[in-house]
């Protein structure tokens, strides 16, 4: 089973997934329709469940919060006010938006830190040759431990693997829509395809992520079905028999996974 244990850590957490969904809707966080968002979020969770993917507890907690908000929205306004405010008097819907706004700011600033990180790689400090005056001071003892040495070993190993590998270390920019087309193309010539086969040629984590999102998207658009012939057997993906033709273009998200800002 390990080959399709694509964890949903694609999204770093429920907030990340929510920001992605909001971005897809192209609305401001403050304007977002939480009821719709709740539905979409829960759909994703359901799909994860269908794939037997490991769903982190935080996603489930968020799902229940969203369910609560959704159910609350469905009540007439006059019945809502007193009864549904939680003990602390905070509006859960407001609290969620506050959290999303805050998280988004940190996500943005993390991107700026990343730019600084990359920039730093190209900055070299001047380390001049040693000055030569008579009787120089004794060489000071280096401030390192055996752990620094071990770390250095690991760095060598990592870089060695990178250099030695034939694979590109740069992040490939895949789009979900390309992958959607790819899956459709395969299924137009094959009756069915095994889940693991879809990822066989993947070159990078980001490609796996895009393929996976494409798959979810196609399932959501009811283009595909997934089947498992026996318990713990390989999942098979096949076209939905009475497929209605749904255009691919408008709804396909373009994203680089992990940066949904």
């Amino acid at each position: 089973m390990s080959e399709y244990k694509v964890k949903f850590e694609v999204f770093e957490g429920p907030l990340d997934l929510l920001l992605y969904l909001i971005k897809e809707e192209e609305v401001d966080i403050y304007e977002v329709n939480l009821t719709k968002l709740a539905t979409q979020f829960i759909e994703y969770i359901e799909m994860m469940r269908e794939f037997d993917l490991e769903i982190a507890g935080e996603f489930l907690v968020m799902a229940s919060t969203l369910m609560y908000i959704k159910s609350r929205e469905l009540l007439p306004v006059d019945q809502r006010a007193e009864t549904e405010e939680d003990e602390e008097g905070a509006d859960p819907r407001w609290e969620l938006i506050r959290q999303l706004v805050e998280y988004k700011k940190f996500k943005d600033v993390a991107a700026q830190l990343q730019v600084l990180e990359e920039r730093q790689e190209g900055i070299f400090p001047r380390v001049p040759g040693k000055l030569e005056f008579e009787n120089t001071a004794p060489v000071p003892k280096p401030d390192v431990s055996i752990f620094d040495l071990l770390n250095a070993v690991n760095n060598v190993l990592k870089r060695f693997e990178k250099r030695d590998g034939t694979r590109d270390i740069f992040e490939d920019k895949w789009t979900v829509s390309e992958k959607i087309e790819y899956i459709i193309r395969i299924l137009s010539s094959h009756e069915a395809i095994r889940f693991s086969e879809l990822f066989e040629d993947a070159m990078s984590r980001s490609e796996v992520v895009c393929t996976f999102l494409a798959l979810l998207e196609l399932i959501r658009l009811k283009q595909l079905i997934c089947a498992q012939s026996e318990d713990f057997g390989e999942i098979e993906i096949r076209k939905r028999p009475t497929s209605v033709v749904v255009p691919v273009a408008p709804e396909t998200p373009h994203l680089t996974p992990g940066t949904s800002s």
Partner: protein, 229 residues
């Protein structure tokens, strides 16, 4: 002899970045030398304020000159560094700068939260990120970018975390005030666990809506999340 040129020659010849304290030590030691002349002696007890002014001036000089290097202050110590656009040739000269692998997205996010909000507890970080941060915290601590700085005066006395000097060095920052958009991010009010004896749910405190500044004041009362049709 102008102070800034003396400082320049020191930064220029030093094997490592120099802090104002170390620079003052140099001036003091120089004045102790047998052959010290009047100028050298006159600078024996140079004030840190004077040093800092001259160092800032020096950095500006080099910025204005627009050559291939600059004088910068990283984590409180001053040094000469080259401009990034010369990296291709410098790599060929001194070898690829051995840096640990780049930080992952979760690490960067967590680090950003700690940098702007320190000191804070793990629970507070998790409240902002919405996920468990155990693994990420371990990585950040192992890499020496984050450290425990004390304990919060709340039930359980959880550890408080902050960034290290290495963090500043890693990102080439002068200090925490040098963080991008620092003001804006600190403005969002985060509710700290109460510092008085607390009830069991101390960590669950959430900010009341008023504390978050909204573009328009009344909006939070409106039906932003109107039921879907």
């Amino acid at each position: 002899m102008e102070l800034k040129y003396i400082l320049e020659s020191l930064l220029f010849s030093a094997q490592k970045p120099l802090s104002p304290a170390e620079l003052r030590e140099v001036f003091a030691n120089a004045a102790e030398q047998e052959d010290a002349d009047a100028t050298v002696k006159s600078l024996k007890k140079i004030k840190e304020g004077e040093l800092n002014t001259a160092l800032e001036q020096l950095a500006q000089d080099h910025e204005a000159a627009g050559r291939s290097y600059r004088v910068v202050c990283v984590a409180g110590s001053w040094q000469f560094v080259t401009q990034p656009e010369f990296a291709p040739w410098l790599k060929a000269l001194v070898g690829v700068k051995a840096r640990p692998t780049r930080l992952s997205q979760p690490s960067l996010e967590t680090l950003a939260i700690i940098a702007y909000r320190q000191p804070l507890t793990r629970a507070e970080i998790e409240q902002i990120r919405g996920v468990n941060v155990d693994g990420v915290m371990q990585t950040l601590m192992e890499r020496g970018l984050v450290e425990a700085t004390g304990r919060a005066e709340v039930v359980g006395r959880p550890s408080l975390y902050g960034t290290t000097t290495l963090f500043l060095e890693y990102f080439g920052l002068k200090g925490l005030e040098d963080l991008p958009a620092a003001d804006e991010l600190r403005k969002i009010v985060v509710v700290k666990p109460p510092s008085s004896p607390v009830t069991a749910d101390a960590d669950l405190a959430t900010s009341p809506p008023e504390q978050l500044q909204m573009p328009e004041g009344g909006e939070q009362k409106s039906e932003a999340g109107a039921p879907a049709a």
